[in-house]
């Protein structure tokens, strides 16, 4: 379950050691923008040791490495992959070739470390106009790709438009990303909302992203994590309905019926699939059904 992802600067011990207590489902340890060029080595060592020795209390570990047009990214992977993070976030991914470049080197490192292939999955960060146009080829470039991620700050600079709270300027990019990800059968994550003090704005923005089909949303502020979790969690109503669907299916099977209706509506495969997803998430959240349905 990855509703919220929280960016943690890679060279700041105080935040690294407390990250697991901030409520996010996943932590993105940042070796890229949050770290100055002359501290890249220091941050790499710090994140590697943090992953090795700190208990992340079930938070997923994602590491944003430096982009493949720098001198840092291979060293980042050499060190970070020793700790088997859940995902590597690859910034400035523009096309399938970028994914394959990173993928090939990750395969080498996995062989060197004696890991199964694709142990460490990849999450391309799409933050250029080219990347958005190539979203589907990026998402489907390799089995290693588990998700794609929209980065709106760099994107709007590339688009030569202003980043706004309403987000009209990234409307197309968001929809394009969701369609590409779903077509490639990978997850898709939304860009952070950057006004740390706007408690209402983050909710509106997260609800909008959810309505478009995003799997979850990243955050640069711990203050946004709670709202993101809330918005991307199934509601009690959704959970109850999912259990109802599964009960109806079971009953139909027992009675040997093919077509199944619930509240006068046909239950087809997509509805069942969604119900199963909802129940899986509810179980992970420790939320059961509110009322027993027999």
């Amino acid at each position: 379950m990855r509703r919220s992802m929280l960016f943690i600067p890679g060279n700041t011990p105080n935040l690294l050691i407390n990250g697991a207590y901030l409520g996010a489902d996943a932590l993105i340890f940042d070796l890229e923008d949050a770290v100055s060029p002359d501290e890249k080595d220091s941050a790499r060592n710090l994140v590697r040791n943090t992953l090795k020795y700190m208990d992340l209390r079930g938070c997923e570990a994602i590491v944003r490495i430096n982009s493949i047009d720098t001198d840092y990214w291979k060293k980042d992977l050499d060190q970070i992959m020793t700790q088997k993070p859940d995902l590597i976030m690859l910034p400035k991914t523009g096309c399938a070739r970028d994914v394959l470049t990173a993928d090939a080197y990750m395969t080498q490192v996995e062989q060197r470390l004696g890991y199964e292939p694709n142990t460490v999955r990849l999450m391309p960060l799409i933050e250029t106009a080219l990347g958005v146009e190539n979203a589907f080829e990026i998402a489907s470039a390799s089995k290693r790709v588990a998700a794609i991620f929209l980065g709106a700050e760099d994107l709007t600079a590339d688009l030569r438009c202003k980043r706004t709270k309403g987000g009209a300027e990234i409307c197309y990019a968001r929809s394009r990303m969701v369609v590409a990800a779903r077509a490639a059968d990978v997850d898709v994550y939304d860009t952070p909302f950057t006004d740390v003090n706007d408690d209402e704005g983050i909710r509106v923005d997260a609800e909008y992203a959810k309505s478009l089909g995003f799997t979850g949303k990243a955050s640069i502020s711990p203050r946004h994590v709670g709202v993101i979790n809330e918005v991307f969690s199934p509601s009690q109503k959704d959970i109850d309905y999912a259990y109802e669907v599964m009960d109806a299916i079971r009953l139909a099977h027992e009675q040997g019926r093919g077509a199944i209706a619930l509240h006068g509506k046909m239950i087809d495969a997509p509805i069942v699939a969604r119900a199963q997803q909802t129940i899986a998430m509810a179980e992970e959240m420790g939320v059961g059904k509110a009322v027993q349905h027999e």
């Binding site: 700041t12 011990p13 105080n14 690294l16 050691i17 080595d41 220091s42 060592n45 710090l46 590697r48 040791n49 943090t50 090795k52 020795y53 700190m54």
Partner: protein, 88 residues
Amino acid sequence: MEIIKKASAGTLESSDVYVEIEPGSRGIQLTLDSVVEQQFGQSIRALVQEVLAELGVTDANISIADRGALDCVIRARVETAVMRGKGE
């Protein structure tokens, strides 16, 4: 490979540690200034010696200004200082 030049790593912020290392000739000369000297001084010294041994450093002067860093942070900063000191 030994330390060939003076190098440093880390900061003096809370929960961090600032490490300075320079070439030495009389084994490991370690000075520690820590806000948790009473509670963790001995274990910090032992950890620093352990990390230096792992990295094959036998002669160096190393000074540590600790602001309450956890072991994993101390380890990372000492590693970085040593790598920089070796010119890696």
